[in-house]
C-alpha cells in the first residue's frame, strides 16, 4: 500500500516501486482505486479498463500489470456471484442503487476495493504458485488510509452476514498479516511530515502494518549554512574577485543577490533538517527520491525505480 499526503507522489512512487520489483524479475500488479487513471497517464498508455493489463516489461524479465478497480463494477460482480441477478444487476445500476449503496455506506466501497486487491494477492496459478509476487496499491491519502483499510470497523454497522461481511473478514486477515505493508510518501515539509506522523500513529493504533517512509522530491543541498554565513560576512570582495576570475561579468552587482539566494537555501536546508529529525523519530526504514527537475515522464519513472533499487527495495 502506498499512501501519503495528497500530491506528495503516491501514484508516482507506487509505479516506480512496481517497476523496481519487476526489474528484479518479479511479477507485480499495480492497482489504482480512485478512478483517476493516474497510472495510465504515467505509463503513457490509454485508460485502463477494469481488467488486468500488462503495461511494462522490465529488463530483469519481470512484468508490471495494472488494474483500475471500479467499485460499482466490483459490486455488480459480487451481486452476480452471490445472487445470480442476471440482467437485473444492470437495472439496479441504472436506477442508481449501486451508487446509493456505495454512498450511504462508504465502507462497502472500501471493502470492494481492498477485496479485489486481496483477491489478487491470494490468487494462484494452475501450477500452484502465486499469480503475482507483489500487489502494489496506489492507495487513498494518509488522512483516509486507516479508515480505508480498517474495513471491519467500517462495515460494523452493516449486515452481520452475507458477502460484504465475509469479504471484510477475509480482507482484514490479509491486511493485518506480515504480507502487507503501508508505505508513506512524504516531502521534507512541515505539513506532509506532520501528516505522516499522524498517519503512522493511526495505523499503528489500528494494528495495521506500517512499512517505510519514502521521502520524495528531495532537492540537493548545494551549500551548507556555515559556508553561507562565512560568505555573507567578510568575504564579499573575495567572492566578487573570484566571480570575475571565472569570467562572470558585472560581478560586483551579483554578490548581494547571490548571497541572498544562498541565505534562502540555508534556511530551507535547516527547515528540511528539522523535518528529517521528525521523520527519524518514527523509527521506520526510509528511502529518498530526488526531485526530477523536468517532472516525471516515463524516463523519469524508470530513473526513480532505479533509485529505489539502489537503495535496496525488496519489501
Amino acid at each position: 500500500m502506498v499512501s501519503g499526503k495528497g500530491g506528495t507522489g503516491k501514484t508516482t512512487v507506487a509505479a516506480a516501486l512496481a517497476l523496481a520489483l519487476a526489474t528484479e524479475g518479479k511479477r507485480t500488479l499495480l492497482v489504482e482505486v480512485e478512478g483517476r487513471q493516474g497510472i495510465a497517464q504515467l505509463f503513457e498508455t490509454e485508460a485502463l479498463p477494469y481488467e488486468e493489463r500488462k503495461i511494462a516489461v522490465a529488463s530483469g524479465g519481470g512484468e508490471v500489470f495494472a488494474l483500475a478497480i471500479d467499485a460499482e463494477r466490483a459490486l455488480l460482480d459480487y451481486l452476480q456471484m452471490f445472487y445470480k441477478l442476471g440482467s437485473a444487476g444492470r437495472a439496479l445500476k441504472k436506477l442508481g442503487a449501486i451508487d446509493f449503496a456505495t454512498t450511504i455506506a462508504p465502507g462497502v466501497r472500501d471493502v470492494l476495493l481492498t477485496g479485489k486487491a486481496c483477491e489478487a494477492v491470494r490468487r494462484r496459478t494452475k501450477q500452484g504458485s502465486y499469480a503475482y509476487d507483489y500487489v502494489i496499491m496506489d492507495a487513498p491519502p494518509t488522512g483516509r488510509i486507516t479508515r480505508f483499510l480498517n474495513v471491519n470497523d467500517e462495515v460494523a454497522g452493516l449486515a452481520k452476514f452475507g458477502p460484504i461481511y465475509n469479504q471484510a473478514q477475509a480482507v482484514m486477515r490479509v491486511l493485518k498479516s506480515p504480507q502487507t505493508a503501508v508505505h508513506l510518501v512524504t516531502l521534507l515539509e512541515e505539513m506532509p511530515v506532520q501528516e505522516t506522523a499522524d498517519g503512522v500513529a493511526e495505523l499503528r493504533g489500528a494494528d495495521l502494518p506500517v512499512g517505510s517512509v519514502i521521502v520524495n522530491m528531495v532537492r540537493p543541498h548545494l551549500l551548507d549554512e556555515q559556508a553561507v554565513n562565512s560568505a555573507a560576512g567578510d568575504r564579499r570582495t573575495e567572492i566578487a574577485k573570484t566571480l570575475t576570475t571565472a569570467g562572470v561579468s558585472g560581478a560586483a552587482k551579483l554578490v548581494t543577490p547571490l548571497l541572498e539566494q544562498a541565505a534562502d537555501h540555508a534556511q530551507r536546508v535547516s527547515l528540511e533538517r528539522e523535518q528529517r529529525v521528525a521523520l527519524n523519530r518514527l523509527e521506520l526504514p526510509s528511502y529518498e527520491l530526488p526531485l526530477l527537475s523536468e517532472g516525471v515522464d516515463l524516463a523519469g519513472l524508470y530513473q526513480l525505480s532505479k533509485e529505489l533499487r539502489k537503495q535496496g527495495t525488496g519489501t
Binding site: G162, S212, L222, L243, G250, V277, G314
Partner: protein, 464 residues
C-alpha cells in the same frame, strides 16, 4: 520574473477596498495556498478599514497559529493585533474554522424542535453523514457562508475552500450531495407505499421490492431503516437539501461576490486553475483573477543558468556521481549538510544508507546491519558532518553560489513556461504573483508580507 505584457496585473486593493465587494472566495487545488491567501487578504482588508470575517476550512489548524489565536472553532473569534495602515483606520478581523459536524448539528437544532432534533442527531445514518460523506464539508461550508451572510455583521466575508483535489468540488459537491439526499431513488426507497398508488408505479414497485431486498441483504436492514427515518424526518423539516444547496449557490452568483483562483506555478495546479476559470465563466460567477503563489524569483536574472554553471565548473569542477542523470541530484559532492549523510561511513554518494536492514536482495554493508545509524535512538541524528576546510575556499564557495543560482534560474524558466501556457489559454485573466517565502507562514507579520505581495506592493522577486 517580469510580468509579461500579455497578462493583466491583478489589483487586489481596489477589490478589497470596494464596499460593494461582500464575499471573496479563494479556491484552487490542494495545497496551493488557499488558506494562507484567505487569511492574508483578511488581515489586509481589515487593516485597510473593513469589517472582515474569514471562514477557513483547514483541518491542519495552522491558521489559528498564524493569527495568534489558540484555537479556531465554529464561532467567529476576534483577531488581535490588527493595525490601521496609516491612511485608513483599522477595521476588524474575525476568524473561524468550519466544524462541519457542529454546523450540521446546529442546522438540525435550528430547524427542528427538541425531541425531533434529538431523534435526528441520534440517528446512526445522520452521524456518519455529518462526520464526513463525500461532499459534506463543501455542503456545510456553503451553509456556513449563507449563515454568515444572513447575519450581516461583517461587510466582507472571505471564504477559504476545503482541501480537495479539484477546485470544482467546491461548486459541485454540495449539489451532488443535495441531489443524492433528495434523489428519486432515496425517495422511492423510503416511501414506496406513497408512490404505489399512482398509475404506472406498479412496475417500479416490483423492482423496488427486489432492490430493497438485495440492498437489505448487502447493507443490513437496519441501515436502510436508519436512512428512511432520517430522510423522512429531514424532509418535513425544511425544503430539501437540494433547494438549500441551490440557494447558497445563487449567493455565489450574486453581485458583490468575487472569486480568486489560487495556483502554484506547476503544470497540474495551473491545469486545474484553467478548468476552474472556464467553469466560472459558464456559471457567470465573477472571477477577480489568479493568484500565482509560491513563485520563485531572482535578483540576478542577468546571469543565465548556463553561464553560472560554466563559471562554477572553472572554479571547482563537479565530481559527478557514477549515476549522473542530469535531472536529479546535481552535486552529490557538495551535499555535505543534513542528516542524510550523518551515517558518515560512506565515502561514496550515500544513496544506500537508507536501505532497510531486512532486505534480502540487497548486499549488506556495515551500515545496513546496524539498521542504519539514523534510525536508532541514540544516533546523533542532528549531527552535521563539518565540511572539510577545502569547501570554504573562495573558489568552492563561489562555485556553490553559482550552482545554486543556476538551479534557481532553471526553476524560474520552468515556472515561466507553465505560466505562459496558462496566459496563452486565458489572456483575459488578471494575475498576481506571490513569491515562495523560504520558510512557512507562521504569524501576522508573515500574513502581512503575503498581503503586500498580493497587492503588488511587495518586493518584486525579479527586480530590475
Amino acid at each position: 520574473m517580469t510580468v509579461d505584457a500579455s497578462a493583466k496585473p491583478l489589483e487586489v486593493d481596489p477589490l478589497i477596498d470596494d464596499p460593494a465587494t461582500r464575499i471573496i472566495v479563494c479556491c484552487g487545488s490542494g495545497g496551493v495556498g488557499k488558506t494562507t491567501t484567505a487569511a492574508a487578504l483578511g488581515v489586509r482588508a481589515a487593516e485597510r478599514g473593513r469589517h472582515v470575517v474569514v471562514l477557513t476550512i483547514d483541518p491542519a489548524r495552522r491558521l489559528a497559529q498564524s493569527l495568534g489565536i489558540d484555537s479556531l472553532d465554529n464561532t467567529p473569534r476576534r483577531v488581535k493585533g490588527i493595525e490601521g495602515d496609516g491612511e485608513s483606520s483599522a477595521g476588524q478581523l474575525h476568524a473561524m474554522m468550519l466544524d462541519m459536524k457542529r454546523t450540521f448539528d446546529e442546522f438540525v437544532e435550528a430547524h427542528a424542535d427538541g425531541e425531533r432534533a434529538r431523534a435526528i442527531l441520534d440517528n446512526p445514518f445522520y452521524q456518519s453523514l455529518s462526520a464526513g460523506f463525500a461532499g459534506t464539508q463543501e455542503y456545510m461550508a456553503m451553509e456556513k457562508l449563507g449563515q454568515l451572510r444572513a447575519r450581516d455583521e461583517w461587510d466582507l466575508i472571505i471564504v477559504d475552500t476545503p482541501p480537495s483535489r479539484s477546485a470544482l468540488d467546491f461548486l459541485d459537491a454540495p449539489k451532488r450531495l443535495g441531489s443524492f439526499l433528495d434523489g428519486k431513488f432515496i425517495k422511492l426507497l423510503v416511501t414506496p407505499a406513497k408512490m404505489g398508488g399512482r398509475a404506472g408505479m406498479k412496475f417500479l414497485n416490483v423492482g423496488m421490492t427486489m432492490m430493497t431486498g438485495t440492498l437489505g441483504k448487502l447493507l443490513g436492514g437496519q441501515l436502510l431503516r436508519d436512512v428512511q427515518t432520517f430522510v423522512s424526518a429531514m424532509d418535513t423539516m425544511f425544503g430539501g437539501f437540494r433547494t438549500r444547496a441551490d440557494a447558497t449557490y445563487r449567493l455565489l452568483q450574486a453581485p458583490g461576490t468575487a472569486f480568486l483562483v489560487v495556483a502554484a506555478p506547476e503544470r497540474d495546479a495551473l491545469r486545474e486553475a484553467a478548468y476552474f476559470v472556464e467553469r466560472l465563466a459558464e456559471e457567470e460567477m465573477p472571477l477577480a483573477g489568479l493568484v500565482l503563489n509560491r513563485v520563485h524569483g531572482s535578483r540576478a536574472v542577468q546571469l543565465s543558468a548556463e553561464r553560472a554553471l560554466a563559471a562554477a565548473e572553472i572554479l571547482a569542477p563537479e565530481i559527478t556521481s557514477e549515476n549522473s542523470d542530469g535531472g536529479g541530484i546535481v552535486d552529490q559532492r557538495g551535499g555535505k549538510t543534513g542528516v542524510r549523510e550523518a551515517t558518515g561511513a560512506s565515502p561514496e554518494p550515500p544513496p544506500v544508507s537508507h536501505a532497510p536492514a531486512h532486505n534480502p536482495q540487497h548486499e549488506k554493508t556495515p551500515q545496513d546491519t546496524v539498521r542504519t545509524a539514523h534510525q536508532s535512538d541514540d544516533a546523533p541524528v542532528t549531527t552535521e558532518v563539518v565540511p572539510p576546510p577545502a569547501d570554504h575556499t573562495a573558489e568552492h564557495l563561489t562555485a556553490g553560489l553559482l550552482r545554486l543560482h543556476a538551479e534557481r534560474m532553471q526553476v524560474l524558466a520552468r515556472e515561466q513556461r507553465t505560466r505562459d501556457r496558462f496566459t496563452a489559454l486565458h489572456p483575459e485573466v488578471a494575475v498576481v504573483q506571490v513569491t515562495a517565502l523560504p520558510g512557512d507562514v507562521h504569524d501576522l507579520a508573515g500574513l502581512r508580507a503575503i498581503g503586500d505581495q498580493l497587492a503588488g506592493a511587495g518586493e518584486s522577486p525579479a527586480a530590475p
